[in-house]
Amino acid sequence: MTPAATTTPRRAPSGSVSERTGAQPPRSRRPRLPGRLRRIGLPYLLLLPALVLELLVHLVPMAIGIVMSFRELTQFYIRDLNSAPWNGLDNFALAVDVNQPVGESLLRSFLTTCQFTVLSVGLCWLIGTAAAVFLQENFRGRGLLRAVFLIPYALPVYAAVITWAFMFQRDNGLINHVVHDQLGLTDTPPFWLIGDNSFVALLVVSVWKGWPFAFLIMMAGLQNIPRELYEAAAIDGAGVWQQVRRITLPSLRPVNQVLVLVLFLWTFNDFNTPYVLFGKAAPEAADLISVHIYQSSFVTWNFGTGSAMSVLLLIFLLAVTAGYLLFTSRGKKPADAH
């Protein structure tokens, strides 16, 4: 270490980060402190605008929502939230009492949502991964196909779903025109937007909307796998399926880990798709929890109960997320140690 190097930061305390990190630990401690402070402080400073916004946009309403869940907040009190009487855990008790209609319908809606989420995430992942793997090969029109595949993801949700709602109409919709009129698969034109088929309709739209995201992330993940691995495997005599199983999927593990989680959270919380498709009163078969909570608060004007349901949903999703991350990272460590 030359003396010149130690004096540089003293003379130019506003030197760039790279300069300072380039300078090795000087002998005297005093000049180091402001630099270290700045080094620690800078990331926080850069994060600050985002943190403030995050606080305002997400955390404050969230906190208010939690407070609301302990109050009796009906139309008599919404004008002044502070005037709403506290009612302890009554809202929660009402929401979880499965022997009463409110709790029973919430539980049914929750189970419907679980079923829907598992199917939707599974299909999105499967289709997205398959498409990404197939598009790894270089062929004519690959760029075009990639762009086409991403269209559902790029379309505004409302416009896309309302189009689906038109297509699912029983008497004038495109789906029935194909299924019933042209292919003759059913005796009478089926309903898609009411009754039990509404679950299928919802699932189709959700998968259509969700799989391009899986495709996009998988494609990015696949780019990171060195081609040599495949070449070496091919020389060793591995077939395509073996390559997928032994190289592609293990390499994509970290990507998959977050992809599945994000898809799960998005699908579980999805409000726009069922709301645009079915309106305020979703059919029982497709009564997803987000719309159910919306109806419990906005339509019946009982915001306290609705908030309690939201808090329960938040706790559930936090628990699932924590459990998932714990589970996946525990399995990962030995793999990383290889």
Partner: protein, 435 residues
């Protein structure tokens, strides 16, 4: 890969927080900080929002010329209006003046967000007795100062396609329900149907079963304002309505999923011969029908002669105009209400919208004596009753409207609709009402 995970972690946090915040959208008008401007949320009365803007802008210009007050207009679609009003109520950031569906009056009155119209306030716009009593009665709970002022009055009527009636050899529109079913069976053949319905439109379901309920001698709330959905009379009323599809087969099954006025489109295209609707004329015209193509008759009643009590054949439908208590320009807002409810504006606006003026002096205008308008006017005068004016009215519309929607879905899928199944749905609806 680490970067992808970091980005995904952010996505996870945001999606989690969305779960807890729900829909927190609370947009609002400017609140009219300056005395020379007002914000006005109008409801969608014309066939389209654009048409509404055109009609209203011309009148607002007149108002500006006379008073110097500029009115910022926003036409809010029905699907959003109530949510927008609730958001405005919660945040205190709302318009100065707004239209409300008159059935919401009692519910919104309970929030305390709307200016009460006591005698002094009414005097500023020419006095309470300028308005028809039935219209004022649908502006809030009985015995309290109304939460709004009647703006447009409407009632239900039976619209029928003259050509289809002729083709089927039907000479006059049905006056009783028995006649309607008999006529309906003649008309429902060859891919055409007798009656249209909006099975997935909760409010419309409520309007229809309310009138039928009156005819069976029931209200959906008892005298003390408690929900009473499962009485024999209410069950019979709901079953009668759904049976038009389930048993009588005079409503096309596809109507079970209608919620966007598709039944009016079907009517205009000659696919259905009758609809029970309020002021449908302008929509028919917008779909290309000529005024001579359709006829208007009173909604059937059991006796064939509409009147009070069990011969009620419509709700008192209509739009009320309310002033937001938080307005910083209450004088200007009152001035604007006075303008909109003046005899002259009442004639112009109600004529454009096909409604009937709730202002008595304007009702006498010859424009409202034409045959189709006369039916609405007479119904309002003689055989219309207001929906229950209780604070829980909005919840009632949702809960019972959904029950009827589900019964229609049953009927459309060919599942039986029985007295028991109707009672079960209504009972479930009643349990959802706030205690």
């Amino acid at each position: 890969m680490r970067r992808i995970r970091a980005a995904a972690a952010i996505a996870i946090v945001t999606s989690l927080t969305i779960a807890a915040t729900g829909c927190g959208g609370g947009e609002g008008g400017t609140g009219g900080a300056s005395p020379k401007t007002l914000t006005y949320w109008a409801s969608n009365q014309a066939p389209s929002v654009e048409a509404d803007k055109k009609i209203l802008t011309a009148e607002l210009k007149k108002f500006e010329k006379r008073t110097g007050i500029k009115v910022k207009l926003e036409v809010v679609p029905w699907s959003d209006l109530l949510t927008r009003i609730l958001a405005a109520t919660t945040s205190g950031q709302g318009p100065d003046v707004l239209n409300i569906g008159n059935t919401w009056s009692a519910s919104l009155q309970a929030t305390g967000a709307l200016l009460p119209w006591d005698d002094a306030a009414f005097d500023k716009i020419g006095g309470r007795d300028r308005f028809s009593e039935a219209a004022v009665a649908s502006a809030g709970v009985e015995g309290k100062d109304p939460a709004a002022v009647p703006l447009y009055s409407l009632s239900y009527a039976l619209y029928y396609n003259k050509r289809m009636f002729e083709d089927a050899g039907v000479e006059k529109p049905p006056a009783t329900w028995d006649e309607l079913v008999a006529t309906g069976k003649k008309l429902s053949k060859g891919g055409k149907w007798a009656l249209g319905a909006e099975g997935s439109n909760l409010s419309n379901n409520i309007h229809q079963i309310f009138a039928l309920g009156q005819q069976h001698g029931s209200d959906f709330f008892d005298a003390s304002g408690k929900p009473d959905f499962t009485s024999d009379a209410n069950v019979a009323a709901v079953k009668q309505y759904v049976d038009f599809m389930a048993k009588d087969k005079i409503i096309a099954p596809g109507n079970a999923e209608y919620a966007q006025n598709q039944s009016l489109q079907d009517f205009a295209r000659g696919k259905t011969a009758m609809v029970l609707w309020q002021a449908a004329a302008s929509t028919f015209a917008a779909h290309g029908m000529k005024p001579d193509d359709w006829g208007v008759a009173p909604v059937p009643v059991p006796s064939g002669a509409p009147g009070g009590g069990r011969q009620v054949n419509s709700m008192v439908a209509g739009i009320n105009m309310a002033v937001f208590k938080n307005s910083k320009n209450l004088d200007g807002a009152t001035e604007f209400v006075k303008f909109m409810t003046s005899d002259e504006e009442q004639k112009i606006l109600n004529d454009s919208y096909g409604s009937i003026p709730p202002v008595k002096a304007a009702q006498q205008d010859p424009a409202f004596a034409a045959p189709d308008r006369a039916v609405l006017r007479d119904t309002l005068a003689k055989s219309a009753a207001p929906l229950p004016q209780v604070p829980e009215e909005s919840q009632f519309e949702t809960a019972v409207g959904t029950a009827v929607k589900e019964l229609f879905a049953d009927a459309a899928a060919g599942r039986p609709v029985t007295t028991e199944s109707v009672r079960a749905r209504l009972s479930k609806a009643q349990q959802q009402m706030p205690k």
